[in-house]
């Protein structure tokens, strides 16, 4: 069969060190991108409801652009082009020495790979999150908005107190799904050089050709993180 399995070759020494470092980076990038995605989703939800038509149009165009291009291309754009677009002062600050911003394995939070990845993945999922929220809003009965209006509630109060709570209840499963998706999509960032789990698994493979063991370890790690994340996010759901 030609497949001799040697776990020790992967779960000890340098390979183990790499894999664990990759795990830390995956967790860090998942967290960073999730924060950004949440912020983007909130902003987009508000923008889509703007009374100013050009704002709504521009928002729709932006969303359409993000949805219809591959994540990988977006990461390449942010990596090659994005950094150069930042104001010089911000760039200088990011390149400067900040000991708190360096993760185990010598990965800096402000390294172009990490920053472009966090922003790229965060923006991508943020768009899909706002789509789920919008779908949730559309599923709220029209009578709800009318009842609120007939009582004299302001547009803001109607949204915040009546419509959004129901929308989020409707969309809870898909929203959780998007965050799980985000975690899995961090694997794509290995292509711009971020040393997360997939990157490190390839590193191990090219180090000692233990492809099966390395990718098996990576698979287990992703499945475990996904399982834990799903548990945590679904625990917030009221039965």
């Amino acid at each position: 069969m030609g497949l001799s399995i040697d776990w020790a070759g992967v779960l000890s020494g340098q390979p183990l060190h790499w894999l664990l470092s990759g795990l830390v980076v995956t967790l860090a990038i998942t967290l960073a991108a999730s924060v950004i995605a949440t912020g983007i989703a909130v902003a987009l939800t508000a923008l889509r409801l703007s009374p100013v038509a050009p704002v709504r149009l521009a928002t729709w165009a932006g969303i359409s652009l993000i949805r219809n291009t591959p994540l990988l291309i977006q990461l390449l754009v942010w990596y090659f082009v994005g950094f150069g677009l930042l104001p010089p002062a911000l760039k200088a600050w990011m390149i400067g020495d900040h000991t708190w911003s360096v993760l185990p394995g010598q990965v800096s939070l402000f390294a172009p790979e990490f920053a472009a990845s966090a922003w790229g993945v965060g923006l991508f999922i943020g768009v899909f999150l706002s789509e789920e929220i919008q779908a949730g809003l559309n599923a709220v009965a029209p009578g709800q908005g009318e009842a609120a209006a007939s009582q004299g509630l302001s547009a803001w109060d109607t949204l915040a107190k009546v419509l959004l709570p129901q929308a989020l209840r409707n969309a809870y499963q898909p929203v959780v799904g998007q965050y799980l998706n985000l975690m899995k999509l961090t694997s794509v960032t290995c292509s711009i050089g971020l040393a997360e789990i997939t990157y490190q698994a390839r590193q191990v493979e090219s180090f000692n050709s233990h492809a099966f063991e390395a990718f098996a370890a990576a698979t287990v790690l992703y499945l475990a993180i996904g399982f834990a994340l799903e548990r945590v996010l679904l625990a917030g759901r009221r039965t």
């Binding site: 069969m1 030609g2 497949l3 359409s64 652009l65 949805r67 219809n68 291009t69 591959p70 994540l71 990988l72 291309i73 977006q74 390449l76 754009v77 090659f80 082009v81 899995k184 999509l185 961090t186 694997s187 794509v188 290995c190 292509s191 997939t198 698994a201 390839r202 493979e205 492809a211 099966f212 990718f215 990576a218 698979t219 992703y222 499945l223 996904g226």
Partner: protein, 228 residues
């Protein structure tokens, strides 16, 4: 900001079909071909799994669902690596990068096809099956002549949307140096060095036109296929 798109003009044919004239299919052409191959495979596989789930015992549906969820719980890029590295080890044959990507994509997406198809079958009004049974048709006949054709027709827009996703996912072939559109763009960028914005924005635009066009077509189909 002064963008200079002459780099695109000079390489437009390379972006579109890579080194196909020299015998190595590439560029946008390869992207579309891979998506079509993976799409067809995942459609066949996914529909087969959906039929097995629908017609078979409850147990089978549970098993297939579990397997589909398992594959979808692993990042697609990792599935690509599994196939690329593991199939040669198991079967002693080398697998070209493009084929690894096609197989990985097909396997990964078959779960989505299965779920979508089952949803389409579930969405059919109960009355259709009952009307068929009442007029004397067997369960099997009802399924193949009444339910399945209707479900598949209703599902065409969803399948087109899944195909649009597949076009985007072919970009991951970049990781195996397969010369599809994204890899091609990266090659041009590496050679030219000074036009990353123009190159990647152009590439994004090509994907956008293709995928947005497909989504728009799916939407149009969904409206036209409404009964009545």
């Amino acid at each position: 900001m002064g963008l200079d798109f002459s780099i695109i003009a000079k390489n437009w044919d390379y972006f579109l079909w890579g080194r196909t004239p020299q015998g190595e299919v590439g560029g946008l052409l390869l992207t579309v071909l891979m998506a079509l191959a993976a799409g067809t495979l995942s459609l066949v596989l996914g529909i087969a799994m959906a039929l097995a789930s629908w017609l078979g015992p409850r147990r089978l549906r549970d098993v297939l669902t579990f397997l589909a969820d398992l594959v979808r719980g692993i990042p697609l890029i990792l599935v690509i690596f599994w196939i690329y590295f593991l199939v040669p080890a198991l079967f002693r044959t080398k697998v070209p990068g493009a084929l690894s990507v096609i197989l990985a994509l097909a396997w990964f997406s078959s779960g989505a096809v299965m779920y979508t198809t089952l949803a389409g079958l579930d969405a059919l009004p109960r009355g259709h099956r009952e009307a068929g049974i009442a007029s004397g048709l067997s369960e099997g006949q009802v399924f193949t002549t009444i339910l399945l054709p209707q479900a598949l027709r209703n599902l065409v827009p969803s399948y087109v949307a899944l195909f649009a996703s597949m076009i985007k996912d072919t970009s991951l072939a970049f990781i195996l140096n397969v010369p599809e559109l994204t890899m091609t763009a990266n090659q041009v960028n590496t050679r030219a060095q000074v036009y990353p914005a123009e190159i990647f924005l152009f590439t994004a635009a090509v994907y956008f036109v293709l995928c947005a066009g497909l989504s728009w077509a799916a939407h149009g189909l969904a409206i036209r296929l409404q009964p009545g």
